[in-house]
Symmetry: C2
Subunit: 556 residues, 2 copies
């Protein structure tokens, strides 16, 4: 990361270019086969043996999951399995981790976590259910991939096992939700989870079922047939339509200049001197189609879908390739009326499969902002269109500045923001709350009140009164106040800000997802800093060298 | 910590020896005045200016809180204030933090967190309510102390403010729950919390009330009177009895030999070669008194209270002074019948003020085990008495080994464990669940079933069947299996174990308390490892030297 010796990571890929996965569609059931190319690492210095993976492998997985959702409305179940003869998946590549910077490790785990959370969301919300067929040893990140599936079916063949060997082997934690999913999702008893997580060789056979580590155990000879049958049953229960065509996720266009990234509806100025990315989101240019049929005709050109794809790519790009830009400043430009019109379409046809997918995608993209280790400020100025879906970006920000009144010499009316139905539960945070509900945890009555004001324009005074914005300087103070706020923010310790933001952004209830990004990731990041893992004699560093790790035995 | 240049830390203290606090009782209202002695630091190398504190100051605070609960049944409200003319409290001493090892910082924050959680428990459960009178600048840990109070009243005098300046000043997080209490306890809006936590100078006057940072603002001249009045009102609503005497917390006796610590009901063998502390808890030697009156006569000699005090001291001692002992092995010895008889007294008279205090104290002590960064194994053997309250120690363990059948040459009957009413909610974890409910999150019916089996003896087979123990080796395998399990455990990375245990021990719902020990502490520990805080040019290291901190600007 910020590794100038290598080209920036590109998250855009398509099945024709996959090197590590095969995607096959067979009626209502798809099969996603992991078959990692050993010399296909994203960076030199390691071989992806035993179906181990790096960021490049996971980028393809993410792409496949997205395409299954949008391009294959007919698919109701996805079989996830291995294409290797003797192994399911050995997890994240250890050499890769050993040679990576702290930031790369943390960012890698964040992306892989988001991808697995997306699989669970596909099962629960998109009714495209993942079934894992474990046909060989399945360790670390391999088992965490299985844990993200709705159903885990394991071969009973003496060779196949599930394991989380990170603690005994590498002195780090399973980095992709494994611990949390064991005790919170699968509700494995804590003492058994303790045993599992300290057993290098893992658990096989009946004990794996008895302890709740997998759902079903079948002889190797019947694995494929059983999995196919389960998948067919699950697909049959899906509400996804069989008689419609999907939306092709055609290549995403962008241009990267030295200090600027442009997409169709987004532009991002990269100020590397100050450490600031200035993102401007453009509202729609025209009215929405009348109905989902019209939407389907527009396909990826439909503004909310186009925006989701562009913002998704930008967030991933900035996180991975621009780690020195610690502050993201978000503006919008366009017509609130048009944004509201699109939101109305998304609200009125929420049950339509494609509308549902687009809403879920928007939700996932704004959640990426929530868990990004970047400060986020939203600036609301005349000409902006922070309405509904776009207002969520402001509500996801650490602070919102809104210009009060008009600008001298600017004929446009004062800035206003607007609520739509999309602000009241359509785009929840990882903890299940809408950003408004979380914002007003202490005053839930405010949310009800705001619901009655959908469609109204809130100028700065009213927005402040309603608790929707943080500060409302007028034209005289605006430039100085914004400049000072930005200068101050980027001068703070990036790490302290990351810890602070991760703590302040997630008040209220906790879910498997927030526990993974809060508790588990924080402990994982801590472990990734500790000499016992990453020091010269640390377990992660000496793994595979034949040397023994040496530990400072003091408990902290 | 493990700092052999200094004597071990002793957590035993009493008001006659306080150097930093004054405790005054005035009818139903007590006043606890912080007046830190500048040259009274626990270690050389720093001066405790501006009412800043170190572990020694907090040990006295903890003692005062305990005494108020046990020795002063009549006190229904406690005023917490500063004895300094110009400052309330500047928080944890920065020089002290700067010169401390990572382990010391983490352990210090854990203890201060537990003490503040205890204040909140005193307010909610013990009906001894803390009112904070902020009579001067109140920063960092000072404000976190205020946040732990039920009511915060602040002087409006132009000098008094509340602040969490850790991020801007020191590049670390407020370490004692501040971030979580802002957004989760006081439900301060997240964008306002963001502003507060980045403002070195803090917030004063009306904004502090408007933003929910304090409850009440009064002119300096009326502060004392107002606080006294509020405290009197709160005390009048307390159910604590005015017509009874408290229990004097007489000096706790213990003997520390080189490799052994002994208390009346506890002995702990310190095996520094293997890195193991072997703790044996003795059950009661005689039947309990017939009723609370008899209990009150016994005072600190009453077995459950004596045990709570001894275990409390041992846990704190081991954590702070024996950080190389990474595994605690817990055994019990005695009569299950007698433990059950004591538990029955504690259950039958739960509403009696002293019984309530003892139950709450036992709860706090077992919770200390839950959040200790040590592996915990419980060994259940013939002659043991893991019943009720003592069974909680096994349920708090990461694993439970129970010997199946009798031992060759041992005439005693096979080991058995027993449930009492105390296992069903009297001693909840920090997340509010009983350890049984948490253990069986996935099978809640088991808890109901077990409730019907209170008082029965569970030998190894039945205990395993009921899910109460992890492994049940017989006499032939026991020694080898235990030896191997211990050898294996102490060979793992201490840090990886800490992260793993912190993740596996807290499935289920989250509370302010679990968020503080999980999410917040993990991020804090991470920050405490980062070069931006603790490297040679880190903000925590250069604070006060006149040098500027230098930051690696990459976001991780």
């Amino acid at each position: 990361m910020a590794d100038t010796a290598h080209p920036p990571v590109d998250f855009r890929v398509d099945p024709a270019r996959y090197r590590h996965w095969r995607l096959r569609i067979d009626g209502r059931v798809a099969t996603l086969t992991m078959d990692v190319k050993e010399d296909g690492g994203l960076r030199p210095g390691y071989e992806l043996k035993l179906n181990s993976y790096d960021l490049g492998v996971d980028i393809e997985l993410y792409d496949a999951i997205q395409r299954l959702r949008f391009e294959h409305p007919e698919v109701g179940a996805v079989i996830l399995t291995s294409g290797k003869e003797r192994v399911f998946c050995a997890g994240a590549n250890i050499r890769m981790l050993g040679q990576s910077s702290h930031g790369w490790k943390v960012n890698f785990c964040k992306f892989t976590n988001e991808t697995r959370n997306g699989m669970e969301e596909a099962c629960a919300e998109s009714r495209q259910v993942y079934v894992c067929a474990i046909n060989g040893p399945c360790a670390g990140g391999g088992y965490e991939l299985a844990l993200a599936c709705e159903r885990i079916i394991m071969a009973d063949d003496g060779n196949t096992s599930v394991a989380l060997p990170e603690v005994p082997l590498l002195a780090v934690l399973p980095g992709t939700g494994g611990l949390t999913r064991l005790v919170d999702k699968r509700r494995v008893r804590r003492d058994r989870a303790d045993v599992v997580c300290t057993l290098e060789e893992g658990v096989k056979g009946r004990r794996a079922v008895e302890w709740g580590l997998v759902d079903e155990l079948v002889p190797r000879s019947r694995l494929e047939e059983t999995v196919r049958q389960r998948a067919a049953e699950l697909a049959a229960r899906s509400d996804r339509p069989t008689e419609t065509r999907g939306v092709a996720l055609t290549p995403l266009e962008r241009t990267i200049e030295d200090d600027r990234i442009r997409y169709g509806h987004l532009v991002c100025a990269l100020d590397r001197t100050r450490g600031v990315a200035e993102i401007t989101v453009a509202g729609p240019a025209a009215r929405p189609p009348a109905d989902p049929a019209g939407l389907q005709v527009q396909g990826v050109a439909f503004w909310p879908l186009a925006l989701a794809r562009q913002l998704d790519d930008l967030v991933l790009h900035l996180r991975t390739n621009e780690e020195q830009l610690g502050l993201w400043v978000i503006r919008t430009a366009g017509s609130s009326d048009l944004v509201e019109a699109y939101d109305r379409l998304l609200a009125d046809h929420a049950a339509h499969w494609l509308v549902r997918e687009i809403r879920l995608y928007l939700k996932r993209v704004v959640k990426r902002v929530d868990v990004s280790s970047r400060s986020v400020f939203a600036l609301i100025e005349p000409g902006s269109c922070f309405s509904g879906t776009l207002l969520e970006l402001a509500l996801a920000a650490d602070r919102v500045y809104m210009l009060a009144g008009a600008r001298e010499g600017d004929a446009r009316p004062p800035a206003a923001l607007r609520l739509t139905a999309m602000n009241f539960g359509a785009l929840p945070m990882g903890n299940g709350l809408s950003r408004l509900a979380q914002r007003f945890l202490g005053e839930p009555g405010r949310v009800d009140d705001l619901k009655g004001r959908i469609g109204q324009d809130f100028e700065a005074g009213a927005a402040a009164e309603a608790g929707l914005v943080t500060f409302t300087p007028d034209d005289i103070d605006w430039d100085d106040e914004i400049r000072l706020a930005i200068e101050e923010r980027v001068a703070f310790s990036p790490d302290a800000l990351t810890g602070m933001e991760a703590s302040l952004r997630f008040a209220g209830p906790e879910t498997v997802e927030t526990k993974i990004f809060g508790r588990l990731s924080a402990w994982q990041n801590w472990t990734f800093q500790r000499p016992n893992a990453v020091g010269p004699k640390g377990a992660l560093q000496v793994y595979g060298t034949g040397q023994r790790a040496e530990f400072d035995r003091r408990r902290a």
